[in-house]
């Protein structure tokens, strides 16, 4: 299976700085890929520092190790490597928080996907998400670590309430602000024609999910699809940074 990958991060229509970071690595044979999105927070500078530290840590701890794994490596071996990426990201952010005044509240969301063959291994902390686009459907594969998600699940509120809840942006956990950063894991089997999309909440808040498959399938290649998704967000006045990494399977 051959992949194509593209990604982009945009400051958005309102914010002055971009605290999101996107990164990806694609093997030469285009049959393995690592996708990463981080959305930093915690003050003026902190957010930018935290998301950058997290993405670099993932590449340092997991980038090469994943590439060295045999294609038939069991899921738990892959997860162990992904866990190492999260642990290193958490440690590095915590260390910086402790030593630099002004950064003591920083943290970041982190979602990553390792795709090898038809298997996608997804790990995340926070509210940056991973979706599988199949035909006209966008299915969210991650569960937000947010107060709002907990309230939706216990029935306190409905989806219609979410845009009005004042604490809708409050995360229950983030990389750099927890004792141990154990991510939530998921493995997904992809089919030819599928796309895997990682994004920050800037996209989910500005472009309805049901429009994504149309936008992605309506463009030739992931680079122009990513560009179109971000433009759609900006056209809707994206109040936050908008970031997308998109992998398509031929």
């Amino acid at each position: 299976m051959g992949y194509q990958v593209a990604g982009q991060s945009h400051t958005g229509a309102v914010r002055k700085s971009n605290q999101d970071v996107v990164e990806w690595q694609l093997s030469e044979a285009a049959d393995r890929a690592l996708l990463v999105v981080a959305d930093g927070m915690g003050g003026h500078q902190g957010g930018e520092v935290a998301s950058r530290l997290a993405v670099d840590a993932v590449l340092d701890a997991a980038g090469e190790a994943l590439t060295c794994m045999p294609p038939d490596a069991p899921d738990h071996e892959i997860r162990k490597i992904l866990d190492r990426g999260f642990a290193l990201a958490n440690d590095r952010i915590k260390a910086r928080r402790a030593e630099e005044p002004g950064l003591e509240k920083m943290g970041t969301t982190l979602v990553l996907a390792w795709v090898s063959g038809s298997r996608a291994h997804i790990a995340h902390i926070g509210d940056s998400r991973c979706y599988r686009l199949r035909k006209q459907q966008a299915v969210c594969l991650t569960r937000d670590d947010t107060v709002v998600q907990n309230m939706l699940e216990d029935g306190s509120i409905t989806l219609a309430d979410v845009p009005h809840v004042p604490f809708r942006n409050v995360l229950t956990r983030a990389v750099g602000s927890v004792e141990e950063a154990a991510p939530s894991h998921r493995t997904e089997i992809l089919e030819p024609g599928d796309a895997l999309l990682l994004c920050s909440d800037g996209l989910t808040d500005s472009v309805p999910e049901d429009r994504w498959p149309g936008i992605v399938h309506g463009h030739d290649g992931p680079a122009s699809a990513v560009q179109a998704l971000i433009e759609a967000g900006l056209a809707n006045g994206a109040g936050d940074n908008v970031s997308v990494v998109l992998l398509t399977l031929e």
């Binding site: 309430d161 004042p166 409050v170 983030a174």
Partner: protein
């Protein structure tokens, strides 16, 4: 602290503090907020103040219709189950209009942060 203000032609005529865990609204005199008006049922609606289980120091307010005849509406939509109230929601009890105000909520920072 949250409050519930009765409006007549968009002018506040009466304000009730929602200081109890439960505030009963209806036509009968044993209600916490009594509205002696024909469109209001004896026991019409209930507002509950419930500490948020996931966010320390935050109280959520929920309104439930108590099987009233003429219904309870939030922003002109008739409610069926229990519904969370947001600051500035307009609640209609029969033909009587109220505005729900939660000052704590208005003070809550709207930008992202993390629970430590």
């Amino acid at each position: 602290m949250a409050s519930f203000s009765q409006l007549v032609d968009n002018v506040v005529v009466n304000t009730f503090e929602l200081s109890q865990p439960e505030t009963r609204i209806g036509r009968r005199p044993d209600n916490d907020i009594q509205i002696d008006e024909i469109s209001v049922s004896g026991q019409h609606a209930l507002i509950e103040a419930i500490p948020n289980a996931y966010l320390d120091g935050t109280v959520d307010y929920y309104i439930t219709d108590s099987n009233s005849t003429n219904g309870t509406f939030v922003n002109e939509l008739r409610i069926s189950g229990r519904q969370r109230l947001n600051s500035n929601d307009v609640v209609r009890i029969g033909w009587n209009e109220f505005r729900f105000i939660d000052e704590e909520e208005q003070a809550l920072e709207k930008t992202a942060y993390i629970l430590d």
